[in-house]
């Protein structure tokens, strides 16, 4: 055993990178990225720019999902749901404010969701205590919906009832009180906010972005804290079910989401340049080498988010919490025995990943010149596509996600172009090819490049390099 082991070490000598060199090397991709980011609009045309914007949106999604899947080892087959929640929240708030008659219901629903999430977060209960807590919060929310009772009385009720429940169930009365208070506050604040939005005919996209992130954080926390106890296939199925449910909500909740026949249209683009200081605007204009139109502005905005996401992801991965994520991936038992609160970290990475998806969703909804969203863009197939992007780029490789997303998006565009020519072989019409091709790509990648594109190619190159070196040495000896 000893002998074979030490042989393995010698064989692996080329693999590890010394830390000091690595720190300098690690900055290089970021520099390269920034240069490409600034000057890309000089070299690409309008259509390519649109594709690049889409790629950016998917990179955001893939980077977030990679933190969850590649690093923390938890699969999500419902990630498109969070993408959709971000898109719909922002789209609704900016383009199609919620109608007056739905406002009370929506705000109370929102408040109940948030209060339940807070109740869970503060008390960490489960079982019947959680069940009763949720039922109480829902009832208190329903109380808020009765127009005959003054808000102050409802709020007092909420605080007192939750406090008493907290005492009785021994889950900490003050914490339970807080969740009751938050229910009351949020119900009223969101009612006021939605009415205000309706009066003004829409909120700013930035507000939409923040509300979307908040809502996604609440929902992903609720889902994650329950579902992430499951593992492997079971987790995959649970997240899949969640994704499907959310898509159905998008399709059926016509009063709010516009349903599946209309979707939401005329979503205003984000005016990036009106939000940044003049010197940055001049810098961008210089880099682009022309007056910057709306599409190019949007490109700069999306990829600025991508850059931030990549920096954050790389930082997190190389930190105490990132190591905890990877430890959870590898052995939950060992991680827990070293003091890693595995349940907490799994939920944390799930919420983080969902919030990144939500940002991507908002950017998708406000896409310059398109401004249209439809439930089919957030369905199960999209979740699968995201998983393919992560696997293709390479699990546990932040930069890999960039290439994975770019490759899949390009492939999708190519297929679309191909389908436009109405190809036909032996009477078989080739339409709707994406799932087939993605399936094939996934199979081939898993077999040929299980480490993903980036690691696969770099390993291949270094193997070639070493091989070449060996041949040279042999020739020298000969």
């Amino acid at each position: 055993m000893d002998g074979s082991g030490s042989k393995r070490i010698r064989g692996g000598q080329a693999a590890p990178v010394r830390l000091r060199n690595a720190q300098v090397l690690n900055l290089l991709p970021f520099l390269f990225f920034l240069v490409c980011y600034a000057f890309a609009p000089r070299v690409v045309n309008e259509a390519q720019l649109t594709t690049i914007i889409y790629i950016g949106i998917y990179v955001l999604l893939a980077v977030g999902l990679n933190l969850l899947m590649g690093y923390a080892g938890q699969i999500s087959l419902g990630h498109a749901a969070f993408f959709g929640i971000g898109a719909y929240t922002s789209g609704i708030l900016t383009a199609k404010p919620i109608a007056n008659e739905v406002i009370p219901g929506v705000s109370v629903g929102f408040a109940v969701l948030s209060a339940v999430a807070l109740f869970l977060l503060l008390t960490r209960v489960s079982g019947w205590k959680l069940g009763v807590g949720i039922v109480l919060l829902v009832l208190l929310g329903w109380l808020h919906n009765l127009s005959s009772i003054a808000p102050a009385i409802c709020a007092a009720c909420a605080v007192v009832v939750m406090g008493v429940f907290g005492l009785v169930a021994k889950v900490g009365w003050s914490r339970a009180c807080v969740s009751g208070a938050v229910l009351a506050i949020l119900a009223n604040v969101s009612k006021w906010f939605l009415r205000n939005t309706l009066e003004r005919g829409g909120a700013s996209p930035w507000t939409g972005l923040l509300v979307g992130i908040f809502l996604t954080a609440v929902i992903s926390y609720l889902i994650g804290s329950q579902v992430l106890r499951l593992r492997g296939h079971y987790l995959a199925m649970a997240t899949l079910a969640f994704g499907v449910i959310v898509e159905i909500v998008f399709r059926q909740w016509t009063a709010v989401t516009g349903g599946s026949s209309d979707g939401i249209f005329n979503i205003p683009p984000i005016q990036f340049f009106s939000c940044i200081p003049g010197f940055m605007r001049r810098f961008y204009e210089m880099a682009a080498g022309k007056t910057v139109d709306l599409r190019t502005q949007y490109y700069y905005l999306v990829w600025a988010f991508v850059f931030i996401a990549i920096v954050l992801a790389v930082n997190i991965v190389r930190s105490r919490v990132g190591r905890a994520f990877r430890a959870v991936h590898s052995s939950e038992q060992a991680a827990a025995s070293l003091g890693v609160d595995t349940a907490r970290y799994k939920v944390q990475v799930f919420v983080l990943s969902a919030c990144m998806a939500s940002v991507a969703g908002t950017l998708h909804a406000h896409n310059a010149g398109i401004g249209y969203i439809h439930p089919s863009e957030f369905g199960f197939m999209v979740s699968v596509e995201l998983v393919v992007m992560v696997v293709l780029g390479g699990m546990a490789s932040v930069w890999g996600s960039l290439f994975g997303a770019a490759a899949i998006q390009t492939l999708k565009d190519t297929l679309l172009d191909l389908e436009k020519t109405n190809p036909e072989f032996w009477g078989l019409k080739l339409q709707g090819l994406d799932p087939i091709v993605f399936g094939a790509v996934l199979i081939v990648v898993m077999i040929v490049l299980p480490q993903g594109l980036v690691r696969g190619f770099s390993d291949g190159l270094s193997a070639l390099w070493r091989g070449a070196g060996r041949i040279k040495k042999q020739q020298g000896v000969g």
């Binding site: 000893d2 074979s4 393995r8 070490i9 997190i316 105490r320 060992a334 070293l338 003091g339």
Partner: protein
């Protein structure tokens, strides 16, 4: 008492794996749990470290009842462990493995790491120093940047011990640390455990290798079919008729 169990019981369906076991580990001692296969030694360790919930009975660590605590909470009380089938974080380097060990006493959260606050750098330096110190202690310094899975088995064991030590434990639980090791590696391990004990860390270990156990432990507890059948110094245990009977079968009586 550092670790104490009271009438600790664990059932798996109809099987009683650990049956009403009382034992104590005093601060500073090295205590061994031995017993024939299936005696419930590993189950007992899993119960103490919180990986398995107890069916009944109580576990006290530093006087605090921990039966309802998760493993990470028990780790935070100063208990670290290794596993029978070494459980390294294979997707990380040797040093990163030990750095995860520092999790119990470090604090920086996700925002601090993501935004690289000052606290992150300060703590990261401490973590790295601690990891290097522990790697040096077990003699793996020169392999720090290798992937953990590339180490030979004996070194993986050492790495697991270094990782556990990095959590600055008061008591170290070792589940069959000598299994799968060569004679030379076993004696090195015994030497290492003595040094750990000198550092003031209490050790509770499970092993099959009698020579090794008798060599390093101050006290031995013998389990048979989930029950504690004997407890005492190695010399006492070696002549205890119940122990001999349990190991050699009833005929030996």
């Amino acid at each position: 008492m550092l670790v104490e169990t009271k009438a600790l019981t664990r059932r798996f369906g109809g099987l009683v794996a650990v049956d009403q076991v009382d034992f104590q580990v005093r601060r500073g001692q090295t205590k061994a749990l031995i017993g024939p296969n299936g005696a419930g030694k590993t189950t007992l360790l899993n119960l103490v470290s919180g990986l398995l919930p107890a069916s009944s009975g109580d576990i006290l660590i530093r006087g605090r009842s921990v039966v309802s605590c998760g493993p990470h909470e028990i780790a935070a009380l100063g208990l670290a462990r290794t596993f029978q089938n070494v459980q390294l974080f294979e997707n990380m380097t040797v040093k990163e493995n030990v750095m995860v060990g520092c999790h119990a006493w470090s604090k920086q959260g996700i925002a601090s790491g993501a935004l690289r606050w000052i606290g992150h750098w300060r703590e990261e330096k401490l973590i790295e120093q601690e990891a290097e110190r522990q790697l040096e202690f077990v003699g793996l310094s020169d392999l720090a940047d290798f992937p953990a899975h590339s180490l030979p088995f004996g070194k993986q064991r050492m790495l697991e011990i270094a990782r556990a030590l990095a959590s600055r434990p008061q008591v170290l639980l070792l589940d069959e640390p000598a299994s799968g090791l060569s004679t030379r590696e076993t004696s090195e391990l015994a030497e290492l455990l003595r040094q750990i004990s000198v550092r003031g860390i209490t050790i509770l270990l499970v092993d099959h290798d009698m020579q090794f156990v008798m060599d390093i432990s101050d006290e031995v507890v013998v389990l048979d079919q989930g029950r504690k059948i004997a407890e005492g110094t190695p010399a006492e245990i070696q002549v205890n008729p119940r122990v001999i009977a349990a190991y050699l079968g009833a005929e030996a009586k």
